[in-house]
């Protein structure tokens, strides 16, 4: 599978990444190279093989329903780009 500029743009939009227009061919080339590498997997038949989620095939541990966290808003918002009245601020969201 080789990717063209239009596909790169579409993927970049999905990933919300601004990419320089003039670098798109470069990305398309690199991504196509990676996909060619990846497609070597097709050489092996994996019919009926259970995908591996955890090497030990462990299962999910459950946490007791207990409130353990306290308010740390000030601490957390000290590193935020923009806040007001305890809220994180972002450019206006249009619904």
């Amino acid at each position: 599978m080789s990717l063209g500029p239009a596909e790169v743009k579409n993927i970049a939009h999905l990933a919300r990444l601004a990419i320089d227009e003039d670098l798109i061919p470069e990305y398309a080339k690199n991504l196509s190279g990676i996909l060619a590498l990846v497609e070597q997997m097709n050489a092996v038949d994996t019919e009926g093989v259970e995908p591996m989620a955890h090497p030990m095939d462990a299962t999910q541990r459950l946490r007791p329903d207990v409130v353990t966290e306290t308010n740390q808003r000030e601490r957390f918002q000290r590193i935020a780009p923009a806040t007001e009245a305890g809220l994180y601020l972002v450019p206006r969201v249009i619904e």
């Binding site: 999905l14 919300r16 995908p51 989620a53 955890h54 462990a58 299962t59 999910q60 541990r61 459950l62 946490r63 007791p64 329903d65 207990v66 409130v67 353990t68 966290e69 308010n71 740390q72 808003r73 957390f76 918002q77 923009a82 007001e84 009245a85 305890g86 809220l87 994180y88 601020l89 972002v90 450019p91 206006r92 969201v93 619904e95």
Partner: protein, 481 residues
């Protein structure tokens, strides 16, 4: 042209856990913005989710209650999209392997029949935060307190054929999750939210029409209105030769209309994949058995029992089992009254419901407890007071004047059953009304009512009516000489 409406509902139920689904932050409603958003909820670099055991139990409980298959192994997946109130850039949800699948709910139709509605699946996921669009110098404010609150998304089959059926299903589901004590059912606070998939097709057409998803229909009334509006819009469109576009529409309650949010082409590519930070969730036989033990009597079974055990008709049984709280209240009254099932039903449905309605109080805040009401019914039954006086006592109880016996005593409402006392009053009345005595003896036996009224009045309503009648007849002699 005859059209058929096809509706499927997706309901998001906030589970009543103390802490969030993947973190130890509180789920309490109404806190100051972002004071209940911990490092995990904020998606800080490096944090990891750990699943809340209670959320799993609640999902399993729901699965058992709708006769569904509870998956022995279910998997959390990431639903990837960007939105400011979605802190990690993905929502942890379940996709290919939900925890609950293939259940059903029976709803009552207006013609008295019941209809089985299929429930495709119910899966666990985390809620997002809230975007506040008030003006912060042209910016939107983000509150992440709600982020990570556990949700059970319940998806029905497209089995509903009218807005009324949709509402009946929603009400039934609402009642069920509250019965199960897995949701507080508070629709204003968003604990029970609904999206509707609506399409229309020509009657007899085996294929479904193009469906439209309506978001944000969060009251029973709005669901009905939004669906009706949408059905009309689609039929009009099709009849005028147009086509329904697959899209997401938002219901605007103020204008009573739906409007387009995004079309299928603009829909997100969510790039679901199993969340590598979480492992498959295993529900084994032991957990299943333990949850089964906590399952309460379900609404349908309870209604059936009320009809059989208390001799109630279907309507009364339905009303009294509408919520677990009301059913419990009723049964408590019955027990307290020594088994006065029918009077208890009347008093709960008429006097109590009326008083609650008038005062705008919830049942749990009722000043009249089931013990008090049960005692009151007992006093009617044993002749201490009449039904009419009982209403006065009820009102006094409502106003906080105390227990029924206390009120009866304090206000001196006890029926006079002392024969001598009633006899004295009867003699007085007879002596004071010779003309009426004449009439009675002449055969006008209707005059007896006059005497009853007079004696009652003189007794302040406390004379025992049966006793009084008997005494009057004896004193006045046989009517019609």
């Amino acid at each position: 042209m005859e059209w058929e409406t096809v509706i499927g509902l997706e309901v998001h139920v906030q589970l009543l856990t103390r802490s969030k689904i993947f973190s130890g932050a509180s789920t309490a409603y109404g806190a100051e913005p972002n004071t209940q958003a911990c490092a995990v909820d904020l998606g800080l670099p490096g944090v990891l989710p750990v699943l809340n055991e209670e959320a799993v139990r609640m999902a399993v409980k729901f699965g058992l209650a709708i006769g569904a298959e509870v998956a022995p192994r279910s998997v959390f997946a990431r639903k990837n999209y960007f939105y400011p109130d979605l802190p990690k850039g993905y929502q942890i949800s379940q996709y290919e392997l939900p925890i609950v699948a293939r259940g059903h709910l029976d709803i009552d139709l207006e013609d008295g029949t019941t209809k089985r509605i299929g429930i495709t699946r119910a899966h666990l996921e985390e809620d997002a935060g809230k975007s506040l669009h008030e003006d912060f110098a042209g910016m939107t404010g983000i509150d992440l307190n709600r982020a990570g609150t556990p949700l059970l998304e319940i998806v029905s089959e497209p089995d509903l054929r009218s807005a009324k059926e949709a509402v009946a299903y929603l009400k039934k589901l609402h009642s069920l999750v509250m019965y199960l004590e897995i949701c507080d059912g508070n629709m204003q606070e968003g604990s029970f939210r609904c999206d509707a998939n609506v399409s229309v097709r020509r009657k007899g057409d085996p294929k479904f029409g193009t469906r439209v998803e309506i978001k944000n229909v969060n009251s029973f009334r709005f669901v009905e209105r939004a669906i009706n509006y949408e059905v009309e819009r689609q039929i009009e469109l099709l009849e005028s030769g147009g086509k329904v576009v697959q899209e997401t529409r938002l219901y605007d309650a103020n204008r009573d209309e739906t409007r387009s949010m995004r079309t299928k082409e603009e829909a997100n590519d969510y790039r679901y994949f199993p969340d590598p930070d979480l492992l498959p969730v295993v529900v084994d036989a032991e957990l299943l058995a333990r949850v089964r033990e906590t399952l309460p009597e379900l609404p349908d079974a309870k209604r059936q029992r009320f009809m059989e055990e208390y001799g109630l008709n279907q309507y009364d049984a339905t009303v009294l089992t509408a919520t677990r709280e009301l059913a419990d209240y009723y049964e408590h009254v019955v027990r307290e009254s020594g088994g006065l099932a029918k009077p208890a039903a009347n008093w709960v449905m008429v006097e109590l419901a009326g008083a609650l309605n008038k005062s705008g109080l919830e049942l749990r805040d009722s000043p009249v407890t089931p013990q008090m009401l049960g005692q009151l019914l007992k006093r009617i039954q044993d002749g201490t007071i009449s039904g009419k006086i009982a209403k006065e006592v009820f009102e006094a109880m409502w106003n906080g004047e105390g227990e029924p016996d206390e009120i009866i005593e304090k206000r001196g409402l006890k029926q006079v059953t002392d024969v001598a006392a009633i006899e004295a009053l009867v003699d007085q009345v007879i002596a004071a009304n010779p003309a009426q005595v004449e009439q009675y003896r002449a055969g006008k036996d209707k005059v007896l009512g006059f005497f009853v009224g007079q004696v009652m009045k003189a007794s302040g309503g406390k004379a025992n009516p049966a006793q009084l009648n008997e005494l009057l007849r004896k004193k006045l002699g046989p009517a019609g000489g």
